[in-house]
C-alpha cells in the first residue's frame, strides 16, 4: 500500500518535473531576458536610456538576422556553418561593386549569398553529404574569396544608400534595427504562413515520411539553405554599413557559432521539426545583454565567454530532457 502510493507520488513528481522542464524549455529564454533586464535596471547606472538600448539592440542585429536563417536550417535537422564567411564575402562584394548604385551592389550580394545556399542545399539535399561537412567547405571558401576580392585591403564604403542603413533612423529607431525587424517579419511569415514553412518542419521531423507524402524534400532543403545564405548576405550588408568598410578577416568571424547559440538557447531543438522565431530573437538579445552586463561590471571577455558556455550547456540540457520526455 505504502509502496504503491509512493510509486504513484513518484510518477506524479516525474510528470510535474517533465512539465516544469517543458515550460522552462519553451519560456526559459524569456524569463532569463526579463531577469537580466531587471538586474540591469536595478544595478547598472544609465541602463534605461534610449541611447543605451539603441546601442545594445544594434549590437545584436546582425546575429539576429544570421540566427533566423540558421533556425530554419536547424528546423530541417541541418546546420549551416558557412554563414560567417558569406557575411565577409557579402561585404567584399559591396565595396567592389559600390561603383554601381548601392541598391545594385546590395542586390548582387544577396544573390551571391543565395547561390552559396544553392550550393550548400545541393550538397545536402541532392548529393546527401552531412550538413556540417557540406557547409564547412564554404566556411573556408567564402572567406578566401572575400580575401581575394579585397586583396589585403580594408576599403571604406562611401555609398549613401548602404551607409544609410546604419546611420539612418526611422521614428528614432536605428536603421539596423529596422533591417533586422524586416528579416524577423519575413522569416516569421515564411515559417508560419507558407507551405514551404510547413514542409521544412515536416522534413526536419521525418524526412522519409515527408518524401513518401509527396513533400519535395530536395527542393525544400535547397530553399532553406538559400534563405540562410541570403540572410547571411543581408547581415553582411548590415555589418559593412555599420563599420563603414569591408574586412575579409574579421567581418562575420565566428558568426556561425553565435547564430547556433542563439537558436539553441532560443529553444529550437537541433533534432529538427521545430523553429522558434521569437525565441531565437530573444536569445540573441539575451546573449548580447549578458555580455554587456558582465563587461560593464568589470568581468573580462574571457569570463563572459565562460558564462556563454554555461548558458549553452543549460539550454542543451533542457532540450535533452525534451528528447526523453
Amino acid at each position: 500500500m505504502t509502496s504503491l502510493s509512493t510509486a504513484v507520488a513518484g510518477t506524479a513528481a516525474r510528470a510535474d518535473r517533465a512539465t516544469v522542464l517543458r515550460w522552462t524549455r519553451d519560456n526559459g529564454v524569456y524569463v532569463a531576458l526579463v531577469l537580466i533586464v531587471v538586474y540591469n535596471v536595478l544595478f547598472t547606472p544609465r541602463f534605461i536610456t534610449w541611447d543605451n538600448l539603441d546601442v545594445q539592440l544594434v549590437l545584436c542585429t546582425r546575429i539576429v538576422v544570421v540566427a533566423l536563417g540558421m533556425a530554419m536550417v536547424i528546423g530541417t535537422a541541418g546546420i549551416d556553418l558557412s554563414v560567417g564567411a558569406v557575411m565577409a564575402l557579402s561585404g567584399a562584394l559591396l565595396v567592389q561593386f559600390s561603383g554601381v548604385p548601392g541598391v545594385g551592389a546590395i542586390a548582387l550580394a544577396l544573390v551571391i549569398g543565395g547561390l552559396v545556399g544553392v550550393l550548400n542545399g545541393f550538397l545536402v539535399g541532392v548529393v546527401g553529404i552531412q550538413p556540417i561537412v557540406a557547409t564547412l567547405a564554404f566556411l573556408f571558401a567564402g572567406r578566401s574569396l572575400a580575401q581575394l576580392l579585397l586583396a589585403g585591403k580594408n576599403p571604406s564604403i562611401h555609398d549613401k544608400v548602404i551607409l544609410g542603413i546604419s546611420s539612418g533612423h526611422v521614428l528614432g529607431v536605428n536603421g539596423l534595427i529596422i533591417a533586422a525587424l524586416v528579416a524577423v517579419g519575413l522569416v516569421a511569415f515564411t515559417v508560419r504562413r507558407t507551405n514551404f514553412g510547413r514542409q521544412l518542419l515536416a522534413v526536419g521531423d521525418n524526412a522519409r515520411a515527408s518524401y513518401l507524402s509527396g513533400v519535395p524534400v530536395r527542393r525544400t532543403l535547397i530553399g532553406v539553405y538559400v534563405l540562410s545564405g541570403v540572410l547571411a548576405a543581408w547581415a553582411g550588408v548590415m555589418d559593412t554599413a555599420s563599420i563603414t568598410s569591408a574586412n575579409a578577416l574579421s567581418s562575420g568571424l565566428n558568426y556561425e557559432l553565435f547564430a547556433i547559440t542563439a537558436v539553441v538557447v532560443g529553444g529550437t531543438p537541433l533534432t529538427g521539426g521545430r523553429v522558434r522565431v521569437v525565441g531565437t530573437v530573444a536569445a540573441a538579445i539575451l546573449m548580447q545583454l549578458l555580455r554587456s552586463t558582465l563587461i560593464f561590471h568589470s568581468a573580462t571577455d574571457a569570463v563572459s565567454q565562460m558564462v556563454t558556455a554555461v548558458v549553452i550547456v543549460g539550454a542543451v540540457y533542457i532540450q535533452r530532457v525534451r528528447a526523453r520526455a
Binding site: R192, T194, F196, L201, N206, L212, P216, G273
Partner: protein, 518 residues
Amino acid sequence: MAELTTAGALPVLEARGVSKSFPGVKALSDVSITVRAGEVHALVGENGAGKSTLIKILTGVYQCDSGELRHRGEPVTFADPRAAQAAGISTIYQELDLVPMQSAARNLYLGREPRTRLRLVDFARMRREANALLDDYQIRADVDVPLNTLGLGTQQMISVARAVALHANVVIMDEPTSSLESREVETLFGIIRRLRSEGVAIVYVSHRLDELYRICDTVSVLRDGRLVHTGPMAELPRVQLVATMLGRELQTALHRSAPGGGDRIVAGPPVLELRGLTRRNRLHDVSLEVHRGEVVGLGGLLGAGRSETGMAVLGAQELDSGAVLVEGKPIRTGSPGAAIEAGVALLPEDRKLEGILPNLSIRDNIAIAALPRMSRLGLVSDKRIDQLVEHFMARLHIRATGPGQKVSTLSGGNQQKVMLARWLCLSPRVLVLDEPTRGIDVGAKFEVRQTIDELAAEGLAVLLISSETEELVDESDRIVVLKDGAVVAVLDGDDISEHDLVQAIAAVPSPEEDPTRD
C-alpha cells in the same frame, strides 16, 4: 514439445524455458530449443515472432529473464557477445559486423592477428593464411582490398569464413542469402554442408522456404514469442509449415465472404496497372491490375516483395524495368509527389519510420500531403485545413485531446487513423495499404477494416498488403501471392479461402519443378 529425433548427436547449444520481456511486450515466453552438432537448424517465424530476440539471447546480446542456456551440456550465461564468441558461438548478421574499411585479411583475423616475434602484426603470414582459408572454402576474393569494395555476397562469405577460422561450434546465420546471387547461394550451401560434416551446428534463419527444405535438417517455428513446433524439416510439409508460422489451423481455415463484397463495382479499364515490375534481387516481373471499387490483396511471406511492389506504385521503389500506370498514365519513379498528384496514396508498413511526423500535431500530420492543394500561391489556409482535419477526425473517430495534440503521444490505432486521414483528404483513386492493422488494438483494427470496405464501395482501387491471411481473405476480391519477388498465384472471387491462400503462400512446387530438393 516432441523431442528431436535426429540422430543421437550431442546437443551443442540449448535454451531451456527461456523468457524475455521488454517494457510492454513479452518477446519470448518459455522457449526451449536444442541445437545439435552437425545439424542445420531452421528457425522460422513471421515478424515479431521472437526470432531476433532468441538469437540475441543465444549470442549474449540480451540476457534472458528466466530459463537457462546450456552450452555442451553445461549451464552458461553469456554476459555479452564477446563471451558467446569466446565459447565458439559465431553470428553472421544481416548487417555485417565487420570493419568495412579494412582489408578482408584483417577482418578474418580481427582481434587475433598473427604476430611476429616483436609482437607486431605479421601481415605476410596473415595474408598467406587468409588466402589459404578462402581457397579451402572456394571463396574467391581479393584479401587485400577494403571489405566494402567487395560485393555484399563476398562480404557475407568472408563473414562465414571468419566464423570458421574462429573454430566456431555454433554458427548462427540470419537471412544469409538475402543479398546473394543464386551462384553465391550455391557456394554458401557448399560451405554449410562442409561445416555440418565437420560437426558444426548451424542455426539458419530465413524466409525462403525452398532454401529451408534444401539445406536444413531440423526446424523450429516461433509465433508470438512461443515455440509452436520443433522437429525434422522433412517431416513438416510446406503447407503445414506456413500454416504453423501464420497461426492458421488448416481445418478451421474456412472461407468467409468479403463484407459488402457483392456490391462492389468491378468494371471498366483498370485504375491501377503494374506491368512487369523488375528490380534485381527484389522483384521479378510483377504484373497486376486493380479496378475501380476492387480490393486486391497482396499476400506472401516477409521478404516476398510485397512492400517493394507497394512502394513502386508510389514511385518510391527503384526499378530496373517495368511500369506503373494509373488510369493508363505511367507514374514516374523517384517522385512520390507526382504519383500523389496522379491519385496514388500509400499507407506505409513502418508507421514510425515512414509514416508519422512524430513531433508535429495531428493537424500538420493530416495536412502535409494535401498542402499543395489546400493553398493559394504557396500560402497556407489554416481555415481550410482546420475544416478538413475536423471532418476526418470525426469520420475516422480519431480520439485525441484536439487537432493540436502531438502525434507521437497517440495510440498506435489512432496514429494509423491519422495516417489514413492524411491520404483520404486527397480523395485518391488508388490506395495502397501496407499492413494497415499491424500493431493496433482490436477495436481500431475493426474500424480500419470497416474504412477499407467503405472506401472500396466508394469506388477506390485498393491494394491491400497484409501478413494476416484472415484479413486478406476477408477484405480482398482477389489475392495476388508473391514469393521471392515474383507472382506465384492469383486467387479469385469465390475460390478464396484461407486454406488456398496458405497453400499458395507455401507455393508447393510440383515434383518436376523441384529439382533442387536434395
